[in-house]
Point group: C3
Chain length 429, copies 3
Amino acid sequence: MSNELAKTLLAELERIVLIDPHTHINPRAAASKTLADIMGYHYYTELAHSSGMPKERIEEPGLDPKAKVGRLVEYLDRLDNTIQVNWLVQLCRKFFGFQDDRITPQNWEKLYDNAAHKMAEPDWEDQCLKQSGIEQVFLTNDFDDPLTGFNTQRYIPCLRTDDLVFHLAKPEVRKRLAAATNIEFTNTSTLKDAIGKLFTHFVKHNVKACAISIPPWFSPRNPGLHEVRAPLQKILANDPLTFDEQARVSEFVFWTLAEYCAEHHLPFDLMIGVNRRVYPNGVYQGQDLFDQRVSLIQYQDLFNAFPTVTFPVSVLAQISNQELVSYAWIFPNVVTNAHWWYSNIPTYITTDCRARLEAVPRNKQIGYYSDMYKLEFAWPKFQMYRQCLSRVLAEDFVIGRGWTEAEALALGRQVLRGNVETIFGMKNG
Amino acid sequence: MSNELAKTLLAELERIVLIDPHTHINPRAAASKTLADIMGYHYYTELAHSSGMPKERIEEPGLDPKAKVGRLVEYLDRLDNTIQVNWLVQLCRKFFGFQDDRITPQNWEKLYDNAAHKMAEPDWEDQCLKQSGIEQVFLTNDFDDPLTGFNTQRYIPCLRTDDLVFHLAKPEVRKRLAAATNIEFTNTSTLKDAIGKLFTHFVKHNVKACAISIPPWFSPRNPGLHEVRAPLQKILANDPLTFDEQARVSEFVFWTLAEYCAEHHLPFDLMIGVNRRVYPNGVYQGQDLFDQRVSLIQYQDLFNAFPTVTFPVSVLAQISNQELVSYAWIFPNVVTNAHWWYSNIPTYITTDCRARLEAVPRNKQIGYYSDMYKLEFAWPKFQMYRQCLSRVLAEDFVIGRGWTEAEALALGRQVLRGNVETIFGMKNG
Amino acid sequence: MSNELAKTLLAELERIVLIDPHTHINPRAAASKTLADIMGYHYYTELAHSSGMPKERIEEPGLDPKAKVGRLVEYLDRLDNTIQVNWLVQLCRKFFGFQDDRITPQNWEKLYDNAAHKMAEPDWEDQCLKQSGIEQVFLTNDFDDPLTGFNTQRYIPCLRTDDLVFHLAKPEVRKRLAAATNIEFTNTSTLKDAIGKLFTHFVKHNVKACAISIPPWFSPRNPGLHEVRAPLQKILANDPLTFDEQARVSEFVFWTLAEYCAEHHLPFDLMIGVNRRVYPNGVYQGQDLFDQRVSLIQYQDLFNAFPTVTFPVSVLAQISNQELVSYAWIFPNVVTNAHWWYSNIPTYITTDCRARLEAVPRNKQIGYYSDMYKLEFAWPKFQMYRQCLSRVLAEDFVIGRGWTEAEALALGRQVLRGNVETIFGMKNG
């Protein structure tokens, strides 16, 4: 019974047109051109590499897109159990007329050609969005992105700040900051000014969120200016910083960002828990992992200091979900945000979604974002989430608590769409 | 099939009359008088606040009870997904003739009046206990509670010791201790004497447990007296203590409590993992959270040093459940104790209950306590637990392992009722 | 429907003849002789002790085997809920004609005698393996095991290295090392030589893996020789070492083992997270527990430094499973290895198996090992795993993703058997 009911609810949830509140889409090249764009997604290259494919075969310079796909396909039979390959097969079936259940050395070339043909249609981007039921897509913009040359009503700017917080010691980052703001900062005050100019620029271009990904060891605090001044001068002198000195600068920049979020009424997306370059010999974008020994208690000062800033929080470690549920249940400004990266598989989505729906106010849950790099992935990733969500709605709410289907669907609609509008202040929802 | 079977088992489990082994009931005002007493439970105020209700609206001084309920009801539509609001609706349906599925601005006043009428009946307390299937209720008594003016056979005293362990540096705590014991302690020896007098007093009044809630950083040890003397003198002089000095005093008092538990054959309830006042601007009792980076390895010395003391252990972080299962599986004196606070939602109860029933001796599991402040909550909270338990018994034991329903129900009865009697030494079980 | 399907798949999975890739079998006395050998398994003694049985009753010197079983049986009614007692009953039913559902003071003697009679048959070892569907069994060999006197094609040697890494400071360990290698090491260089001789010896005798269990605090690194020299001289002088000095020696020996694994193309089984002797008054082998605050980030250097060594990783804390999934998804040389000890119960196996099948390449998953001390346990333990696995295959793959039963079974076969062959380089698979 619950399976049938879940399918009924799923069919209804599929009809909701969505806003995707976090992606890495390049708005100037949003859709794929070949299957190589699609299978170049780090999930496939890293899993193929992990399963035994040499990195050199994947990242050979000048490799022809079709040849690259052919090579990756050789390893798909080692990965066909993964949900990531399931996304791939499902999207090929939906968009490219693929009819098989597996992509193999026998059938991939035809698929490649069919896909290339489809994606060559001039309105493929529009078609893909339409078929995917997506009308707006949040971006991940470098702080010095000019934000021109694309429709900021469809592709919503989001100010990504990892470089500012964690890499200000790199001369090229400071150069980019100076170029973007016309301010060569020399102290904490002018650094603040420069960051403020970034916000002004982004706000002018319809920015709807500030965002950052954060390593497990980081704990936001408002450092004394006397703690920051010396490290900042070392940076300006290109002297190497100790770990602690770098942390002081990171804290200062982070706190400054939160202040500007308050000033501009911008939500600040926190993506908590990633260690970068744990496996430096991994493929491109397949090098990051995590340390699950992290706690939201590290964010206590931040959440208390900025009651007017909404913090949509994503956690990388699945075990952090209970803390996220509990902090969102207590702090008015903490919101649960989707299922991120290593937690983005049905086993963990289902448990985490279930707990959130049981204990977090319904207006404080952003159900899902795709995190995609190419538009074709919105549909299979949201579909995976919708399947988990419809199962939880069927089992826990309709069967478990006697809700009507309409009531359950209203809850589903709110976490899938409604809350994205209210939390990020979308006007056209 | 499993759904039907679970319902059958549930119906049988509902017939078991229970002892609630941990609550915050005031035995001199155990039942509610109005819906404001019920909706004043911190779950509703903190969730309403989290969902957007200003604290000032909730905690306005002198606010009329009915007006307060009316205000909270305005926010219930943001919370109706939560299991906590489900408790509320269920208890209103059970006790107050409420027939709707939601409490709304349209129907709340009638419910308020009906409930007030019902609760004004002189025997409401008895009726509520009877309808709830509860015959004895453990309390949470301040160490200086006179324990008079109520029936200690129905309301079982429990010596709560947080103040002694963590707040002895506060002059008012020491004043209360002196008043309760007629001992103004001046050193470790007289402090021990004073604590001993508390135990004597409580034992005389049918105490069945000593209890404490503990922050994640605390690790019980038996400190050398030389480590405790100086901090204790500082306390007596009202000098401020360092974190380490306070920890030495906490360790000493904690260890002393365990010694008296051994002497008096009292179980020592440990509720592990809460950080107090993480969100100091939260509503009353809605300010505490946790840091999941805690381990029962911190209790190794304690469990080894007191083999004759039974430690019913509750953990706040759900991820601690596997450690709890494993420590209860190995240590004869460690007992699993219910599902506490942020872990007390069906998603986590079900998993945790399942693991315990698979790996902990059946005589070492206390299934549930309500943790309630008002009697009306025993029924919906135990009902939530019974639903989880009956599902696990149906799926894992009857279907999975071929147990008879009678065998499964005997296991359910033992964790719901039998173990409370044996572990806390109840005579009238 | 999913229950029926799971049963169908289970029946097929039961037909696969297996290699058990980790046990503690003594190949010179592999099978049990009486029920005392079987019920002497630490699971039964530690659970009986935990449930209230005095240690002295269990470990009385000179206790007759039958009397010991009689004593343990008195406590089984406190443990009959546990999955471990379920193993016991199931194996008695399968091997010894036991027809009841519980072992009781009434029926145990007949069972004891029947079992003894059966196990006295001269080919019981062969019968047991055959009935269990096991054809090869990995051992856990002390580093100074002569590896003679048994069939190393059936009982596959595995070099266990805990003593070398963590107990080299004990004179008896060094004495055993000298006796096994004819090298009395005097410095890092000759210590390396001695360890090298162990590998040569084991490789000559068909070793298929090196293995170690590791406490949560340990973090492998390649220490500078200057850090190791002084601690090593202290060891040779039988001087006590500080914790840090011991850690340097452990790091050095560990790193040396990994180097020899690379040289000899041996997988290095890592069993991560156990604290030894947490409960020193526990029964034999019932004293170890864990601290879940551990991360695979501690193994970052190791995984990067030895890309040619395969590391089958087992984790003791269930919460470590997501890290294990993620590290196996990214690192080509990290493989998921079974469900270890306190994580080896159906609740955790099911979740962990589900997550692995969703996100780790299928050629990098070792489904299960029995960890048994006596042959009779392979069947009930693998059976428990097969039940979990068949349920996941039914629900997630056949029903959830539309796989054929044949496809699902091929996946099951690969994690149960195929990967053991490929990962450990078995020739006769």
